[in-house]
């Protein structure tokens, strides 16, 4: 057949940049300036006071916001820092969530222990998925991860594992109370809020240091120019697979926290829509800008509510139009806008 004779020539497949990334290292590594530190401390102060002034449901929502922020942070490490795509991070989130649920409800292990286990397990799963994905670039990696995301609910429904996963029914988790006599001061919602806050701060600190380290520089070098990075002696395959693992670990821990907060896991909570949600948060917050995860998470938690109020069932369309607007008007997301504003102010 004549059509099959077509090949892509060099001209058609000229080198394309992998992702829109902010300029300069400081931008990519997050809060560096005095302004950044001031904002960070102010946010932290607000975060500590919030659960005492908000109602129970609002506290729950804020906890969920932080959970999504951690998941988005994970994807940002992969896409923003290392330049690899994933439409399938919902799968790692699911692995983390099921780890928490199975350990807590089937094995009776305390929720605190589920985090490191989920983290390590997701690192391994992510690393293993990252290995074959090494040979896939750009659009093919997006395809493989898309397939992963779509197939995830069916994996979770598998009959042989039904004994542990609860099949279609899923698993209900009992909400943990505050330990060490803190339950006199904090109710369960508030305790989970602070627990998530501390885990989130720790992970953010980890991510920031990773990006600033030698490893982080190697990851960014691979993103900006893989061939140059390789010729400089960077072992691209090891770094790319590791980036996948670390990214999956962050998202897995988020899934673990998410399961504890929502107190329920079921296969249909981890559909393609979840992966889309994490990607949306990343793009809105700003690809390659770590603090953007918080803004992205705020968007995905609160905007559906607003959209539902305007018109029921149109949240998805709202997401869609907003995404297109962001790509057109502010391709670097909220982070890019804020940086532009900060640059204007400090001039």
């Amino acid at each position: 057949m004549a059509m099959s004779d077509e090949t892509m020539t060099g001209a058609a497949a000229g080198p394309k940049k992998a992702a829109p990334v902010p300029k300069g290292r400081a931008a990519a590594t997050g809060t560096n300036s005095a302004l950044g530190q001031g904002v960070f401390l102010a946010l932290l102060a607000v975060a500590v006071v919030l659960p005492f002034v908000l109602s129970g449901f609002k506290v729950f929502q804020m906890t969920q916001l932080m959970v999504y922020a951690i998941a988005i942070l994970g994807l940002n490490l992969l896409t923003g820092i290392n330049g690899q795509f994933s439409l399938g991070h919902g799968a790692f989130y699911a692995v983390g969530a099921y780890t928490a649920a199975i350990m807590m409800e089937n094995l009776g292990i305390g929720y605190g222990w589920t985090l490191p286990v989920a983290g390590i397990l997701c690192f391994v799963v992510g690393f293993l998925f990252g290995l074959p994905a090494l040979r896939l670039e750009g659009i093919y990696l997006a395809l493989a991860t898309f397939a992963l995301a779509v197939a995830t609910p069916q994996f979770l429904k598998l009959t042989p594992f039904e004994e542990y996963t609860g099949g279609v029914q899923g698993i209900v988790i009992i909400k943990p109370d505050a330990p060490f006599g803190l339950d006199a001061v904090l109710n369960a919602d508030q305790w989970l809020y602070f627990f998530t806050l501390v885990v989130g701060l720790f992970l953010y600190w980890l991510a920031r240091n990773l990006v600033r380290s030698r490893t982080g520089r190697a990851l960014m070098a691979i993103r900006d120019n893989p061939i140059a990075a390789r010729s400089m002696g960077v072992n691209t395959s090891v770094y790319k697979a590791t980036a996948f693992g670390i990214s999956a670990m962050f998202t897995g821990v988020a899934g673990c926290l998410g399961a504890i907060v929502i107190q329920f896991v079921a296969p249909d909570s981890f559909t393609f829509a979840l992966s889309v949600l994490i990607l949306v948060g990343l793009v809105i917050g700003g690809v390659g800008w770590l603090p953007g995860a918080l803004l992205g998470a705020a968007f995905v938690v609160f905007i559906p509510n607003v959209a539902e109020e305007i018109s029921k069932g149109l949240a998805g369309a709202f997401y869609g139009f907003f995404l297109i607007a962001v790509i057109y008007l502010a391709p670097q997301g909220a982070g890019g806008l804020l940086r532009a504003l900060a640059a204007k102010l400090s001039r």
Binding site: S4, A18, F146, G316, G320
Partner: protein, 292 residues
């Protein structure tokens, strides 16, 4: 043996749908070297339009070409309005826009026609093709339509000037532009055709799986698997790949006990990853060589 043959026939019939979707995927890939993740949702939306027209009482064989035409214009318009301005944007921007379109179509379909399952009549009628036949009328119809679409495409690309121009624009945009081909118009045309083929696939599958906003997600995944298996640069390969995926899916579902009816989507995942690792160009595709 009877069961085996039956499963193969059933596989070929479902494979026809995957082949159609794979064809649409390949059309877009030819035009812009991207995979359209919103392809399935666009097809779903076209199918809803068809359902609505049928509800209004229009005859099926009037609705069929009408919806194809509407989808063609729709796909063409999407390229002009949404993708033209970001032609040279990075890959991530394109993927994000595909996801955005996915969300928009899915959400609007649910909003306009709600989420209840609707049944769409088959134009080929119910029951087996002939008494005692293994293959149903609708299944035979699906296979027939897919082959007709493939033949039309082949004719279009081989014998018409526009088809030749589209091939030129896909193979070498620079040179094509120099000989006076409007390359960006060819891209839009590719989008329109992909959208039209998707509409055909949607209308054919709807009588089998019932119409609801999420019906195309898994079918799109199989379509991708078929396209990758056959080779993203080859329409014939995509059709062959689609048929193979359909047969493999059915046989694995029948003969591998763990898989049963429930592990069918992971098969698509394994197929995609395996093909991309072992033979990234697919069965009939050409290897993409990138000049550095």
């Amino acid at each position: 043996m009877e069961l085996f043959l039956q499963q193969i026939v059933a596989g070929v019939a479902t494979g026809a749908i995957y082949a159609c979707v794979a064809l649409a995927v390949v059309m877009i890939y030819q035009a812009i070297h991207h995979l359209n993740f919103a392809q399935g949702e666009m097809a779903m939306f076209s199918t809803y339009i068809a359902w609505q027209m049928l509800q209004w009482g229009l005859p099926y064989w009037l609705v069929f070409p009408l919806v194809i035409a509407i989808s063609f214009v729709g796909g063409f318009a999407i390229e002009r309005i949404v993708f033209k301005p970001i032609e040279n944007a990075p890959v991530l921007s394109h993927i994000v826009i595909f996801i955005a379109l996915f969300a928009i179509f899915n959400s609007f379909a649910g909003f306009i026609w709600d989420f209840t399952i609707k049944s769409v009549p088959s134009p080929f009628g119910e029951g087996p093709l002939w008494a005692g036949a293994m293959i149903g009328k609708h299944q035979a119809g699906m296979i027939g339509v897919t082959l007709v679409v493939l033949a039309l495409l082949w004719g279009f690309f081989t014998f018409t000037r526009v088809g030749l121009a589209m091939r030129a624009a896909a193979v070498n945009p620079e040179s094509a532009r120099l000989v006076g081909i409007r390359v960006s118009m060819m891209t839009a045309l590719g989008w329109g055709m992909a959208s039209a083929i998707g509409a055909v696939a949607g209308m054919l599958i709807a009588p089998v799986v019932f119409l609801e906003p999420n019906m195309m997600l898994s079918i799109l995944l199989y379509g991708f698997a078929g396209a990758v298996l056959g080779g993203l640069t080859s329409p014939l390969g995509a059709v062959i790949g689609g048929f193979i995926v359909g047969v493999v899916e059915n046989l694995a579902g029948t003969y591998i006990p763990v898989i049963g009816g429930e592990l069918k989507l992971p098969i698509a995942l394994f197929l995609i990853v395996a093909v991309l690792l072992v033979k990234p160009a697919g069965l009939l595709g050409r290897r993409v060589v990138q000049r550095v």
